[in-house]
């Protein structure tokens, strides 16, 4: 998990931020898109980078910070590799999205107030409607939609992700006790 500490990230790929800024013409009206791309790169918005972006765009750090904290999509804390978005739109809500959320959190062993697993593999969020009301209750893992969820399906789904992770890059030693 130390791999994602800002100073390390900064040292490694500062030029990536520059490339993103360049692409958007150092134009502050593109700030949201710039932050989106930075978040894509780092999985969150490191504070140092926000300050750097502000200087580069000739706006105050408060302005950039204000935008970064306004929109639900942005995170100032590191997010997991996979983002699980449990839909809590109306259709999903009346069909039991709370149980789905509880099942996801329980499976990942998240404590109250915690949204990201310590190994930085998963972040759990709730979103208001992903537009898959016919499949309520639904959730998204990254960009993939999974519908008609229940406790059992949640377990199977997350197990499959865990297996993939373990099969793939088991070398980074991030997998913990939760596989079983």
């Amino acid at each position: 998990m130390e791999k994602l500490e800002p100073e390390v990230a900064l040292g490694r790929s500062f030029e990536k931020v520059n490339a993103i800024l360049e692409k958007h013409g150092y134009d502050s009206t593109n700030l949201i898109a710039i932050l989106q791309e930075i978040q894509e790169e780092y999985r969150y918005l490191p504070e140092e980078i926000l300050t750097y972006v502000a200087t580069a765009l000739r706006v105050s750090p408060a302005y950039v910070y204000g935008v970064a904290t306004f929109y639900a999509q942005f995170s100032l804390k590191p997010k997991g590799k996979h983002i699980i978005r449990v839909c809590d739109g109306t259709a999903c809500h009346v069909k039991g999205s709370e149980k789905v959320l509880k099942a996801v959190r329980e499976y990942l062993g998240l404590r109250e107030g915690e949204n990201t697993t310590p190994d930085l593999l998963f972040t759990v969020e709730t979103v208001a409607c992903i537009g898959a009301c016919a499949l309520a209750p639904a959730l998204m893992v990254d960009e993939e939609v999974h519908g008609l969820m229940d406790e059992e399906k949640v377990q199977k789904l997350l197990e499959s992700y865990m297996e993939r992770e373990e099969g793939g890059e088991a070398s980074d030693g991030l997998q913990g006790q939760k596989g079983a």
């Binding site: 134009d27 593109n30 302005y63 306004f70 929109y71 259709a91 009301c133 499949l135």
Partner: protein, 634 residues
Amino acid sequence: MVFRDRKALEERIQELKARYTGKRRVLVCGGLGCLAKGAQAVFEKFQEVLAREGLDWTVERGDGHGSTPQLVRTGCMGLCEAGPLVTIEPSGILYLRVHPEDVEDIVETTLKNGRIVEHLVYREEQNGRVQQWPFMKDVPFYRRQVKIVLRNCGSIDPENLDEYLARDGYLALARALTEMSPDDVIGEVMKAGLRGRGGGGFPTGRKWQFARMVKADRKYIVCNGDEGDPGAFMDRSVMEGDPHSVIEGMAIAGYAIGASEGYIYVRAEYPLAVKRLRKAIQDAYQAGLLGENILGTGFCFDVRIKEGAGAFVCGEETALIASIEGKRGMPNPRPPYPAQKGLFGKPTVINNVETLVNVPAIILYGAEWFRSFGTATSPGTKTFALAGKIQNTGLVEVPMGITLRELIFDVGGGIQNGKRFKAVQIGGPSGGCLTEHHLDLPVDYDSLCGAGAIMGSGGLIVLDEDTCIVEVARFFMSFTQSESCGKCVPCREGTKHMLNILQKIVDGKATLEDLALLEETALVVKDASLCGLGKTAPNPVLTTLRYFRDEYIDHVVHRVCPAQVCQAMREFWIDPEKCRACGKCARVCPVSCISGRPKVPYVIDQAKCIKCGSCFEACPFDAIVIKWRRKGNA
């Protein structure tokens, strides 16, 4: 190819019509619902089987050979409930719940032998007899629908400009640019009586006229695709299923008001819509239908996409403008209206996706034709996303003026699992809950407003007897509260207090004074908030208080939840017959309200119990019973 003028475009359209219309086509729904149910595997199976059978599926081969099927992945066909959906053209056979295993059968039976695969068609039991409808147009779900906005959605490949052109795509733009003055275009839209489909219902033509009259060096058209209402997915389906119609509508609007730039603002949660729109924009530029000197008329129009970043308030015009400018998406007081001073301080027209998609149809077929649908004050159609406890969850388009009963029971197929209808929430968190008594209310802007609801963007959530109305009101309030941007006090503080009171009611801790305060606060927030979010946030509370007051009273006075949803309205009892006096329950009880001695059944002190359910989970003998409080047995 680049279309240098209208004639070139028209010739190409004729050519493409010959290629696509009336041809044998296999359409596989690529809408989100069907994709999540496995439509991709069905599509791939069709590819494999058609290739193996020598029924080559490529469009190029299909040209000139009427019998060779073309395989197409379309946008949403609407009946998401029964996906993955497959349609066979030209006859219009609709197959439901198609799995890859069924593909061989469809190819063999339908494509080769022209017969219907019986077990895949729509069937419904009526009076003990099973009725089935193999053709899409006859299926009850589709029978009442009129498709203007969704004219191409579900019948063309959204990533193929040719297919859009084959359906007279960009012909409306060509006609506007070559035959009509900007004032003619505005006049036609005014005559059609098109009203904003985002919810407010403001006449589109008038909005355009305001922006046209302002003199400025630059003007903007903004397409509002920030569909944030939980439970609404109409705009998403259109952007994903027919992206060119959005672009064409914007270009016509741009011509009408004198704008040469347009922005499409799309929610971050809709990655597929963004992808399809990007492709469509790129294709339109390559064909000379966007950019400089469109169709040789001198008209220039550029379209860019701006992705939102997750803020419901950005659906509000002025907040949306702030967001496009790269700022916090907070609303500003109006006037000045965006039509005078909008994006980057320039006159700006902001139209909803659905509104803009209506425009090419109006230009092509005329205001008279458009007015032949719907009612006098609300002409045309409206798309709805039916969801909740309804049989046919999905996307529909119906003429305005249809009654809620027809919409929910005829089109939507009624309530799931034979339950009783309780209420319908229309217009999302800004709308209201309507009851059984409103079922015969015509769906148009004015009738809904009169009943305390709004048309909204088209989310329609059906609630059955198992849904607690108070809990639903709390749910909507928690949504608007967390989405309140915090700029104005009534909305920021008011929604918070309303949510607290609703939480108290749901937790069984509220009094009648709380209820009165809730109502008072709701009225203040409605009157005093700065923007549409705050002004409409109290609607769910106000309408449920108006139509379901007894259910609030049940919660507050009797501590009863008639729908058996609110956990605090339960009671835990120990069945003395089953209790073995092991004491496990007493040990886990966090408030020590269970007492007992060895060999004597334990007892729960109801006054101290916090209904946490720990004892229920701990008991190894299933001796703990949950009883829902009922009126009278308190």
